[in-house]
């Protein structure tokens, strides 16, 4: 591995203008079919059907470009984006940047023009796939009984679970009394923010500062008759698996609360351990993480929710049910939380995940988990040889990822994780995921080497961190002034937060720069 040399990548530099600057009056990117003469003869001009007060008087200031020019512009922007398929995306931990098989895109194109309100008889195939993905695959992987794929992302699933827990206590007449949700600081921020949006108060448990283990004594003090539920990740962002997790769920159950398991990333425990045995009532999986659907520049995704039988009645509608040999959408669920997302959610994401699971099978899913775990052990060993990198907390074995720290490097060189993060891209790897806030681990970064990556890939990734570490100790300025080979130079950050200068649209930018149009 010592022979691995980081390559001097350089991002594409197109210095592309904002698309409005490419506009030329009169150009057209696409034409629509003309309205046939028979229609025009029958109805006349469109404007007659718009009341004068409702008419648009001034055309929208959209740019005018020909087709090749639009394509070129967005192709150039795509080239200035470091997508996962182009690089070794180990740095973005908690997100499981795994390979999304290309064949699944072809399969998705089959449902492109399906309308969600079509007669059920005309979409038995896609309903079968949705149903089987839940009742065959997720049932076995999680041990849960019933599923919904309506939540369109992981946070949306956490929000769905908060809404379901709210409904559960409401139906039981206990909502007024139960207004607290417990979470841990190393659970994803959505596990705090979603219950808060649903109206709950949050109680956050911090880990044992020595071991990093979730603090069971703190939980004992937190649970009470006010506890509505617990939202928790396991393994946590530190990669530490809470070995007393079944005790935790038991303690919450004993005071009458429900337990929601954030399994956004369950990649290294598929076929190893399940929500059911750990005592959870609800869980969710991010299909755009563990189950291979592409991340799509941040969605569309799916937070696939699984629940125990007792909570089935609260799931959002519709639920796909299988009866008498056919599939149908069941809306008749009086205690349902209703809707979290319109229609059935991101069905194409479920289709890809079904295909991925069919390509893997029981052996393949377990193998993906084992290799992810092993890759993490391998990465740890190599990374801890890099100067300035430490692994906080004494808990030795970590499952799928580790929250490392560059605090030592920061103290010794002045170079911290944000500098490093700007420098690694000069060697062709994506910026790291550091940590959500607050930064309990100082100067944090959280790599996750899932099963997609080979030993050579991991070696390359570590070689970049090593290289940047060497630079930090020998020539810190080169790291502090990075990136040097990006599509752009360093930005001026102050205008982003200044009301007089921030601009979320081109029209606002022109106004603030005093340009009329």
């Amino acid at each position: 591995m010592s022979g691995t040399v980081p390559r001097k990548y350089h991002a594409a530099v197109w210095n592309e203008p904002v698309i409005h600057q490419l506009s030329n009056e009169g150009e057209r990117g696409v034409l629509l079919p003309s309205v046939e003469p028979g229609i025009v003869e029958a109805v006349g001009a469109a404007i007659e059907y718009i009341p004068p007060s409702a008419r648009r008087r001034v055309a929208p200031a959209l740019p005018e470009l020909s087709q090749a020019q639009v394509l070129r512009h967005y192709l150039r922007l795509s080239q200035q984006t470091l997508g996962m398929e182009l690089e070794i995306d180990i740095g973005v931990g908690t997100c499981t940047m795994k390979y999304s098989p290309k064949v699944n895109e072809r399969l998705v194109s089959r449902i492109a023009e399906v309308h969600p309100l079509q007669d059920e008889g005309t979409m038995q195939g896609i309903l079968e796939i949705i149903h089987k993905f839940g009742h065959v695959f997720l049932k076995e992987i999680s041990g849960m009984d019933e599923f919904s794929f309506q939540p369109p992302g992981g946070s949306a699933a956490a929000y769905n679970n908060a809404a379901m827990i709210r409904k559960f206590h409401e139906v039981n007449g206990e909502l007024e009394q139960r207004d607290e949700i417990i979470t841990t600081i190393f659970s994803h921020p959505c596990d705090a923010a979603c219950p808060a949006t649903a109206g709950f108060k949050l109680v956050t448990i911090f880990p044992d500062p020595e071991t990093g283990l979730p603090d069971t004594e703190a939980l004992k003090e937190a649970v009470s008759e006010r506890t509505a539920g617990m939202f928790i990740t396991n393994p946590e962002d530190t990669g530490i698996f809470n070995p007393e997790i079944d005790e935790w769920t038991k303690m919450v159950h004993e005071v009458g609360g429900l337990c929601s398991y954030d399994q956004a990333n369950a990649n290294a425990i598929m076929g190893v351990t399940r929500a059911r045995e750990a005592g959870f009532d609800l869980c969710f999986f991010n299909l755009h993480k563990t189950f291979s659907s592409p991340h799509g520049s941040s969605g569309p995704g799916c937070g696939a929710v699984g629940v125990v039988k007792e909570l089935e009645e609260f799931l959002p509608v519709p639920v796909v049910v299988h009866e008498d040999g056919s599939y149908r959408l069941d809306y008749d669920r009086p205690n349902s939380v209703g809707k979290i997302r319109d229609f059935m959610g991101n069905v194409q994401v479920v289709l890809r995940s079904y295909a991925w699971c069919m390509a893997m099978g029981a052996w393949g899913l377990r193998e993906a988990a084992e290799i992810s775990m092993l890759n993490n052990q391998y990465l740890e060993k190599k990374l801890l040889e890099v100067r300035g990198v430490t692994k906080p907390y004494s808990t030795e074995r970590r499952v799928d990822q580790i929250r490392f720290s560059l605090q030592r490097m920061k103290e010794e060189t002045g170079v911290g994780v944000s500098d490093l993060n700007s420098r690694v891209i000069d060697y062709g790897i994506q910026s790291f995921f550091t940590s959500h806030h607050p930064w309990i681990v100082p100067e944090p970064f959280t790599p996750e080497p899932c099963e997609t990556y080979s030993k050579a890939d991991i070696d390359y990734w570590v070689s970049v961190v090593r290289k940047v570490s060497e630079e930090a100790y020998s020539d810190p300025e080169v790291v502090r002034t990075a990136p040097h080979r990006s599509s752009i130079h360093r930005i001026k950050a102050e205008p982003l937060n200044d009301p007089a200068r921030w601009a979320m649209t081109w029209r606002a930018y022109l106004k603030k720069r005093g340009v009329m149009r």
Binding site: P60, P101, E113, S298, A355, R366
Partner: protein, 472 residues
Amino acid sequence: MVFCMDDKGFTHPYIPNSVPSVKEEMLREMGAMDAEELYAQMIPDRLRLKAPMDLPDPLPAEQDLRRHVERILSSDVTCEDYLSFLGAGCWQHFVPEVCDVIASRSEFLTAYAGGLYSDVGRYHAIFEFQSLIGDLVEMDVSSIPTYDWGAAAGNAVRMASRITGRKEILVPRIISPSRLSIMSNFCHAVAEEDRIAINFVDYDPKKGTIDLADLADKISSKTAGVYFENPSYLGVIEDRCGEITKMVHDLGAEAIVGVDPTSLGVLSPPGKYGADICCGEAQPLGIHMLAGGGSCGFLASKDGEKYVGEYPARLMSITDTVEEGEFGFGQCRFERTSYMARENAKDWVGTTVGLWAIVSAVYMSLMGPEGMRELGEGIIQRSHYASKLLNEIDGVRIPFDQFFKEFPVNFDSTGKSVTEVNNALLEHRIFGGNDIFAEFPEMGQSALYCVTEIHTKEELDRLAETLKEVLR
């Protein structure tokens, strides 16, 4: 079976380190016989599965997998196979090829949350999405999109509630039930005093527009915001938007408007008639229906601290770099998001629909102002042509005449239910309009028909002829 637990010779194409010798070497380095030995050091015995999962035999060969999935989907019908008049929140529009080309670019398809120096193009494209939406609605701020129109409306009413410190929202009584349900979830809370009450404003039974007298009765200094749609859920064009927003502002409330962007080449933009916050659905802008998977909610507003500080979603701002004449992009006021503030954030944010933001930016750039005008005009001419034909059929009635692309069709006088009519149309390979009888019983046996630029005269004639036949 070629693929089983003890088949050590097998390597999965998605897992490079599943090469048995590689895996064994990695295990050896860890001093373990097998992975289970390592898992035992992390996860207690009582929580570890003791048997392999019971799942169907896998299809690791791509060709087998494709055949298997395609066989399951082969019986499904799409709106390209049948003639469809379904809408109600998901609409069939023309998708230019360039949209699909950009949607399938590896860089965009597989990026996630990279940094501002590594994902410059993604940041840039998102900024353009916000800008183009801003142009359509004539508002200065727009954010990264959210899941769907309902979520955007839910975010909007919560913003209004925080801005005004008030706990009541008025919405039209005729509203998409799904959208209302999503909003209701956003407005509900644990404690009574934290809940945002949703109260309804009636509609003019003749025109289908908002009943301004009823609005005047209901609105008060307790109202945080009034949410209305243009066109409405039933397709009706609202013609007194300026009067509505004035009534709202007179009481210190926020005017929130939901729009279908395909109408904005011809209908007045919300920014023009006094909207403070605007939301809607970008799926019609170059995104396939995908059985409902194409939804993309957008949110826009006036500029300034008052609004910007309340967005739950990320906001992409343009800025300069140290190089003269070069743009950079970054997030504005990131500390208000739940990524920073956890339970103290402005609601929550997460992975939404970034890819659709990029695709709809491509669409709006291709269409330009002229394309959007032609789109709007072409839709109106076609939808009114269709309604004219249907209105001539015995027993069929079109209750409202001031509409954009959707309109209810009432079958009461035909003696047939919408279910019967739609089942009969299905036999003729036509998806009739969505049945709204259960949603709004007062509308009688009515279906919501949607006509867009994809429909030809021949197809609209065919609908009318077929309806005549099945109603005979």
